[in-house]
Subunit: 604 residues, 2 copies
């Protein structure tokens, strides 16, 4: 195992300096926290991750969660994650004091979960889904549900899940058929099957509280007829004891990666004895679920970003220790009398490492920024301010979900390549990161779905208001960078790319205006790649600004090399990554239409 999974200095730099956690801490709601308290909390999470998460990462892969004799067996460390996670506030952190929470900023919670994800991405999902399920109950459930369910969930004694997917309804939630029949006793009788339920069942909690999308009899078709229910594995008997609620685990899904994170197939109401309680209003379930879903999407981006970071640390460590080959001499030959050089000195290895660094830190920056927008929106001092941050968060959410997952997979693959043949061997950890990260572009809406959301909805909502707000932020970073001679060329380049974005949108919107939505969004995936690349270039310029300022003012928490390396990586991002937007734009405005079905048999 490598010795490190995290560059803690870069996390601190991004959290405190680049994204100025202080802006958030200044809000009244967070007045009990200062940077010192946050620092102590994050240190304790790091310590927990060092001791309880990272050491079990490889063995959880070798000994996967599995279904045996009607039970899901998971690694004992799942129990530690739930119990200690509950104790440490890793589940309750972001909730209001009155709901049993700690009123921690989301930024801090994100940083804390990122550390855990980087240490062992198979575990934080158990607490994360519990948090998400509790959040829905707290926000939309009645007092009875809140009081009965959330306290043991926040303590990590009970788990939680989100149950959306059914065999015939994955990306297409309008086709959900799980049914809910009202009874006179206030509960509904639930019947149906749900698949791909992460953390759906295990022995390390006393109960699992499922947040289930179902259709009340007679409900409208499509997504407008979907309601949300609390459906516990064990319901609370009149005497307060827990009794089975006819939620049966039918099996599990064995997977290529994230093997320690169980994925289950659940049957509700096979014996007609499954009780569920409506959350909020009938037929509003999908809207409620999207609160959890938006959080989950940020969480997916965070998890992927963390895997990239961990993989980068492992491949960097290898490259700094492994000697192989020699520098080319001026004749293009090698001098075999020389000692072998460390592979980190080969330009192509450095390229692969810098790519990982650029994606890892850029993705982390993106995830923290989204969390900051969330904090500033929820504690906004005016409705306008609330709306401003909310809009930018909405716009960024599909990007946060997608960029770390997609470019992250590429970065991790480069990390594996650094190790050569060893990278493919089970003994080395890179291949596990490579397998684990592959699910992230599928979780909680595939890249295709996210891309439709970005181009088809978020870019155009409120007349493009969100893009305009974000552009203002980007222009401010450009203005800032333009003060420094060595950053100015990059500022200009980014400005050109903003202009290019307008040109591309101008071209595409013509189709939307004509009502040809299929053509408008046919290349949404390319647009996602184009737009997120530019967002990342912005975030890297922002990091370079911050580094430059520290170098010039001498107000340095970190070494000079540290700051120089940020500027160097920004330049790397512009030369090797941002450059791709030229071709992407060229393809996006190409009039050839090749992926919309016609009479022609394309796959003959």
């Amino acid at each position: 195992m490598p010795s490190k999974y995290l560059d803690n200095d870069s996390l601190k730099f991004l959290l405190y300096d680049v994204h100025q956690l202080q802006d958030v801490l200044d809000r009244d709601y967070f007045s009990d926290y200062d940077q010192e308290a946050v620092g102590m909390f994050l240190d304790s999470v790091k310590d927990f991750s060092d001791k309880e998460l990272f050491p079990y990462f490889q063995e959880m892969d070798a000994d996967p969660a599995r279904f045996e004799d009607g039970k899901i067996l998971t690694h004992p460390q799942v129990g530690v994650m739930m119990k200690k996670g509950g104790e440490m506030g890793l589940i309750s952190g972001i909730f209001d004091y009155e709901d049993g929470g700690l009123q921690l900023p989301t930024m801090v919670h994100t940083a804390a979960t990122y550390i855990q994800d980087a240490a062992n991405n198979h575990l934080p999902g158990y607490t994360g889904l519990t948090l998400g399920a509790a959040e829905l109950i707290i926000h939309f459930g009645n007092d009875h549900l809140k009081q009965a369910y959330t306290p043991p969930m926040l303590r990590g004694e009970w788990g939680g899940t989100m149950c959306l997917t059914e065999p015939q309804a994955g990306s297409s939630l309008s086709d959900i058929t799980t049914s809910a029949s009202p009874t006179e006793k206030g509960y509904y009788k639930i019947k149906g099957q749900k698949i791909f339920i992460s953390a759906g069942d295990h022995e390390h909690v006393d109960n699992v509280v499922h947040l289930v999308l179902a259709r009340i009899e007679g409900a409208p078709s499509g997504t407008k007829g979907i309601s949300l229910f609390v459906v516990p594995k064990k319901r609370i008997n009149e005497d307060g004891s827990l009794i089975p609620n006819d939620v049966v685990t039918a099996g599990d899904f064995q997977k290529m990666g994230q093997k320690g994170y169980c994925t289950t197939h659940l049957m509700f109401g096979e014996k007609e004895d499954c009780q569920g309680w409506l959350v909020g209003q009938a037929h509003n379930g999908l809207r409620y679920m999207f609160m959890m879903m938006n959080g989950a999407r940020i969480g997916v981006g965070r998890g992927a970003a963390a895997i990239v970071m961990a993989a980068y640390q492992a491949s960097l460590e290898y490259a700094q220790e492994r000697a192989q080959g020699r520098k080319l001499t001026s004749s293009g030959k090698k001098d075999v009398q020389q000692e072998q050089t460390l592979i980190i000195n080969h330009p192509d290895v450095r390229r692969m490492l810098l790519l990982q660094k650029a994606v890892a830190e850029g993705s982390l920056s993106l995830v923290l920024l989204a969390s900051k927008y969330h904090d500033l929106s929820r504690t906004a001092e005016s409705p306008e301010e609330k709306e401003r941050y909310h809009q930018m968060l909405e716009l960024l959410t599909p990007v946060v979900k997608t960029y770390p997952s997609e470019m992250g997979a590429t970065a991790v693959s480069n990390g594996l390549q650094v190790l050569g043949g060893y990278g493919f061997c089970s003994e080395y950890i890179l291949q596990q990161y490579h397998r684990d990260i592959r699910i992230f572009s599928i979780y909680e809406g595939t890249t295709g779905i996210q891309s439709l959301d970005l181009l088809g909805r978020k870019m155009t909502m409120n007349g493009g208001a969100a893009v305009q707000l974000l552009s203002k932020e980007i222009m401010s970073t450009i203005a800032n960078a333009s003060q420094y001679d060595d950053l100015k060329p990059y500022a200009l380049k980014l400005k050109e790319k903003l202009q290019l974005t307008q040109e591309v949108m101008g071209f595409l919107l013509e189709f939307a205006k004509r009502g040809d939505f299929q053509r408008f969004t046919a290349d949404a995936n390319l647009f996602m790649e184009f737009f997120s690349n530019i967002v990342l270039a912005w975030l890297w310029l922002d990091m370079a600004n911050q580094a430059k300022q520290a170098l010039l003012t001498g107000d340095k928490k970190f070494s000079e090399d540290f700051y120089e390396s940020k500027i160097h990586t920004m330049r790397f991002f512009y030369k090797y990554e941002l450059v791709k937007t030229t071709s992407l734009a060229e393809a996006l405005v190409d009039p050839d239409v090749l992926t919309i079905p016609t009479e022609k048999k394309v796959f003959a």
Copy 2:
């Protein structure tokens, strides 16, 4: 399991029509074969692959080759592969009659092995390495070695390997330390360790013949002091029986993929009783080995191309059966009253399928072309002709090794994505292809090494003669396509890209001229991506030409849809793939130097 792993029509189209196998069959050396005989041979290979390879593909992954009690255990089908492979001429096919071969064209052997690779990529390596090892003995060994070793190898009774890598010498072969001490009895005493030896040991053959790189005592340092030895697992006793030769399997490497293909760690001469026989002249071993290595590199490209094909077939089958979601209406909404549509009707799914088709068939075309050049070179009627095809083959070899491996991995990942959550599940085959293909960009020289070979050696050898020869071929395809109004724009685009290649090379060569080889090759990886993309665009235009001609002349072996789909996929390649060369060229001529080590600590 999906029902198909191969598009046999596209293989035939490429073999007979696009790459005109007949040109090769017309050579005297192959006069015993006509297209009918080749067709029957390939049909028998397909039948063998259907029955003996494909059905075992998933279980070989679930039950990996492994080291137990000092032995390597492999799946019983390894024995079938060796034995039947020997009987069917899958090992001996390409050799001269006088060496026990069948004098089959390499093109046909490549097509046959491609079918096997597509059916089960864990198996053909066993026969393939046996072939490669036999080839070295036949070409460079003395009569004694040829007579003693090759007959049982060609029959599949004995296996063969290539032993290059040592723990301290992977990409850097000059650092090999395995030693060979001459004895008075004609053999050498071999001592050393070799790792990552594919097919290095198993119970399904009577002997394994290792072709081992070692250093004779007192040899010059570096690659010039490396010799090649035949070192059998069991040597032939005076009475003709086989006795142990002190070659001990120390362990194996458990891997992320290709789990049925054993990867071993061998110890030679631990008891000072390992005998090896020099092949050819002393100190020429690396040169000899490169004959096998060049073949192996083509073989790696072929294997990767085959995996892409198989993955494409599996994801296409899924997309044609799975209903999910609906077409967008003119308001950008979906009409939930409609039946769900098959996912193949979603533009983004079609994009992912077309990408796979473009990479799968393009890669196959590339591999067959390289085999054709090999056939035309080895049977050339003049030294000039021999040299011409040899040069183009040399130039293409790193591309053939790399493009199917690198873009193939991307294509397979898109195939997995088509299946959504199921793509990540062990029950579906896509995740296995995803894991299996990941080794191909590492095998037999990583992408980094291939890229240095392409840019640093092949592009400039003989004053750039190879590129000029290839450019002529490309210009001929462009001229051909320019006759057709609908292909002409693509011909013009390709011509622009040839011009762009010259500009990029002009920029880069300045560094070589100044003796700055490190700068010259620092972005070799990008150049590989740039150049191979253009080569593939050429091959797709060539396919489109052939399809167009068939449509116009009415001389159609396949359906009209089949030919139209080739032209459609060519257009797809130009819009979505060739377009990337714009950005790649922009990065290649970017003056910023970011990956060459300096005093600055970049990874601070």
